[in-house]
C-alpha cells in the first residue's frame, strides 16, 4: 500500500513543533513533510529547485498551508497549484491564525478545499490538527491520479 503523506507549509518553528506534536499523538508524524515557505512548497510539489529529485514522486494526500508565508504567500502558492494540471485537484487545507472574513473568502475563491483557523488554545489546536491529519490521510479519498 502506498504511504499517504501530508505536506505542512509552516514558517513558525513553534507552531510547527506544536502541530507535529499533535500529529505525533495520532501516529501520523512520520508521514509529515515540512517546508518553511511558499517557494519551498512549490519546489517540493513541482519537483524543482532543491526538490528536483521529486519530479516523478507522488503528491501528498493533502497540503496544510499557512497564508502568511515568506517569499511566496500562501494564496500565491494556492493559485499556482490550481493553475497546474498536475496539482489542480490536490487537496489544500488553509491552516492560519487569521479569522478575517476576506482571507477566508479569497482562499475559497482560489480553490482551497478547507479553511481552518489555528485555535489559540493548545488543547484545541492539538485536537484540530489531529482531526485534520486523520481526516485527510485516513478518511478522505483523494481525486483520481493525485
Amino acid at each position: 500500500m502506498k504511504i499517504k503523506t501530508i505536506l505542512l507549509v509552516e514558517d513558525n518553528r513553534q507552531d510547527e513543533k506544536l502541530i507535529l506534536r499533535a500529529l505525533h499523538k495520532v501516529n501520523l508524524v512520520n508521514q509529515v513533510q515540512v517546508v518553511r515557505d511558499g517557494q519551498q512548497a512549490l519546489d517540493y510539489l513541482f519537483g524543482q529547485g532543491e526538490f528536483a529529485d521529486r519530479a516523478e514522486a507522488a503528491l501528498p494526500a493533502a497540503v496544510l498551508l499557512d497564508i502568511n508565508l515568506p517569499r511566496v504567500s500562501g494564496l500565491d502558492v494556492l493559485a499556482q497549484l490550481r493553475a497546474n494540471p498536475r496539482t489542480k485537484l490536490l487537496p489544500v487545507v488553509i491552516l492560519t491564525s487569521s479569522d478575517e472574513e476576506r482571507d477566508r473568502l479569497r482562499c475559497y475563491q482560489e480553490g482551497a478545499n478547507s479553511f481552518v483557523r489555528k485555535p489559540l488554545d493548545f488543547t484545541e489546536l492539538a485536537e484540530t490538527v489531529a482531526r485534520l491529519g486523520v481526516y485527510w490521510v485516513a478518511v478522505n479519498e483523494p481525486p483520481e491520479g493525485a
Partner: protein, 430 residues
C-alpha cells in the same frame, strides 16, 4: 328796329339841361365818377377771381363782376348821351345791364342759406385760433411724449446696462462657486484618499495583530500545556500552578487581542444599509445566551416590530454586546429581567436594552465607552472592556448616538438611535 336806331330829330341829353354848365358837369361828372368806380370794383373782383381759382361760388362772383362792369357801362352811356343822342346804344347797354342785374338778383336769393351757412371771418379766425391752440397743445404733447420716450429709452438703456452688469456678476459668482466646488471636491477626494490610506493602515495593523501577536501567544500556551501534559509526573504542584498561571494570562491576552480586532473592525465602515428586524435579532441572541447557560433563569421581553436600518453584521455586534452585558450583569439577580423596546425622545426613536442587574455608578459613566475601561473588577464580572467601546463606535458610524443610564444594584438601560433619517422604530400592535 329801324326807327329804334334812327336818332335824327332827337336832341342829346345836354339839351334837356339847356347846356347849363353846372347841371351838365354835375351829372356828367358823377356818372363818370360812378362809372370809373364801378369799373375799378369790377376789375378788382375779376382780378381776385382770376387769382383765387379755388374760390367757393366763383360763378356768383363772376356774375357780380359782370353786373358791376355793366352798371359802369350804363353810367358811361349816360355821360355819352349828354353830348350825343345815341339812345339806341344806351337802350341796348341798359337792357343788357338790366338782364344781368336781374339774373344776379334772382341768383342771389337761393344762395342766401348757403351764404349764411358759410363761416364768418371771425368764426374762421376763432376756429383758426382754436386749431392753432390745438396744434400748439398737440406739439406740447408731442414734445412731452418725445421727452417721455427719451426718458424711457434712457431708462431702458440703463436697465440693459444693469442687466448686463448683473449677468456678468452672476457669471462671475457662478464661476467662483464652480471653482470653490471643484476645490472642495478635490479636498474631499484628498481627505477621502487620506482616510482610506489611514483605514488601510489600520486594517493592516489589525491584520498584523491578528497573525503576529497570536503566534507567540500560541507558543506560550502550547508549550505550557505540553509541559503540563507530558511532564506532569516530574513536576511539583507549585510548578504546575505557575504553568497554569502562564496559560490563564496567555488566554486573557488572547481575549484582549480578539477585543482589539473586534474594535478595529467596528470602525471599518458601514457596508450595507438594510432594514434589520431588531426584535427577531434580540430574541435569537437571548435564546443563544439561554442555551449557553441553561442554569440561569432570566425573563425577557422583546417588543415586536423593532426595525432599524443599518449594516446587519454591525447591528448584530451591537445587540450581542448589549444583551451579553445585560445577561452577564444580572447573574446575581433573582429574578433577572431583560427588556428590549423602543421609545421616543425629542422626536427621535431610541432602541433600548434594559436590565435589573448590577448597574453602575453614573459618576463613572464617562469611562463606559472607552476601550479597556471597566467599571467592575475582574473577580466580580469577567470581561476585557471592549464591548461597549465597540457598540459606541458602530452606533456613531451609523450617524447615531448611545446613552447609558444606571444605578448601582438597580440595573442599567442603554438607549441608542441610528441616523435619524435612516432608522425607524415601528411599533406594531400585537
Amino acid at each position: 328796329m329801324g326807327t329804334f336806331f334812327d336818332f335824327s330829330g332827337l336832341a342829346p341829353h345836354g339839351m334837356c339841361l339847356l347846356w347849363r354848365d353846372d347841371l351838365f358837369w354835375a351829372l356828367g361828372g358823377t356818372d363818370a365818377a360812378i362809372s370809373a368806380a364801378y369799373i375799378s370794383i369790377g376789375m378788382t373782383i375779376l382780378h381776385f377771381i382770376l387769382r383765387r381759382k379755388d374760390m367757393y361760388l366763383r360763378w356768383v362772383a363772376l356774375l357780380f363782376a359782370a353786373f358791376i362792369i355793366l352798371c359802369a357801362t350804363s353810367h358811361a352811356t349816360d355821360v355819352w348821351t349828354l353830348w350825343y343822342a345815341d339812345y339806341g346804344v344806351q337802350v341796348i347797354v341798359k337792357s343788357v345791364t338790366a338782364i344781368v342785374s336781374l339774373v344776379t338778383a334772382v341768383a342771389l336769393w337761393p344762395l342766401m342759406p348757403r351764404a349764411l351757412a358759410m363761416p364768418s371771418g371771425a368764426q374762421l379766425s376763432a376756429a383758426n385760433q382754436a386749431l392753432t391752440e390745438e396744434i400748439h397743445e398737440r406739439r406740447q404733447v408731442e414734445n412731452s411724449l418725445r421727452d417721455t420716450e427719451e426718458h424711457l429709452r434712457k431708462a431702458h438703456e440703463s436697465l440693459e446696462r444693469k442687466v448686463e452688469e448683473r449677468t456678468w456678476q452672476l457669471q462671475e459668482s457662478e464661476a467662483r462657486v464652480l471653482r470653490l466646488n471643484a476645490d472642495l471636491e478635490r479636498r474631499v477626494e484628498d481627505r477621502t484618499a487620506e482616510l482610506t490610506a489611514a483605514n488601510r493602515e489600520l486594517d493592516s495593523f489589525a491584520y498584523a495583530v491578528s497573525h503576529d501577536l497570536r503566534a507567540p501567544l500560541r507558543a506560550m500556551m502550547g508549550f505550557s500545556d505540553a509541559l503540563l501534559q507530558d511532564f506532569a509526573g516530574q513536576m511539583e504542584d507549585e510548578a504546575k500552578d505557575y504553568l497554569g498561571e502562564i496559560v490563564v494570562a496567555s488566554r486573557h491576552m488572547g481575549e484582549l487581542i480578539d477585543g482589539l480586532l473586534q474594535l478595529s473592525r467596528s470602525t471599518r465602515g458601514i457596508r450595507r444599509h438594510d432594514l434589520v428586524d431588531l426584535s427577531a435579532l434580540a430574541t435569537r441572541l437571548l435564546q443563544e445566551l439561554a442555551m449557553l447557560e441553561p442554569a440561569r433563569s432570566v425573563t425577557w421581553q422583546v417588543a415586536p416590530g423593532l426595525v432599524a436600518r443599518g449594516d446587519p453584521d454591525m447591528l448584530e455586534v451591537v445587540m450581542r454586546n448589549l444583551l451579553g452585558n445585560a445577561w452577564k450583569y444580572t447573574a446575581a439577580k433573582l429574578p433577572a429581567a431583560i427588556r428590549v423596546y423602543a421609545e421616543q425622545q425629542d422626536d427621535q426613536w431610541f432602541f433600548c436594552v434594559s436590565d435589573n442587574g448590577a448597574g453602575f455608578d453614573m459618576v463613572h459613566a464617562d469611562k463606559l465607552f472607552q476601550p479597556f475601561q471597566r467599571l467592575h473588577r475582574q473577580d466580580e464580572f469577567s470581561g476585557i472592556g471592549i464591548g461597549l467601546a465597540t457598540v459606541e463606535r458602530i452606533v456613531r458610524r451609523h450617524g447615531g448616538r448611545i446613552i447609558a443610564e444606571a444605578a448601582p444594584d438597580l440595573g442599567a438601560t442603554f438607549r441608542f438611535c441610528l441616523n435619524s433619517s435612516d432608522a425607524q422604530a415601528e411599533k406594531e400592535t400585537p
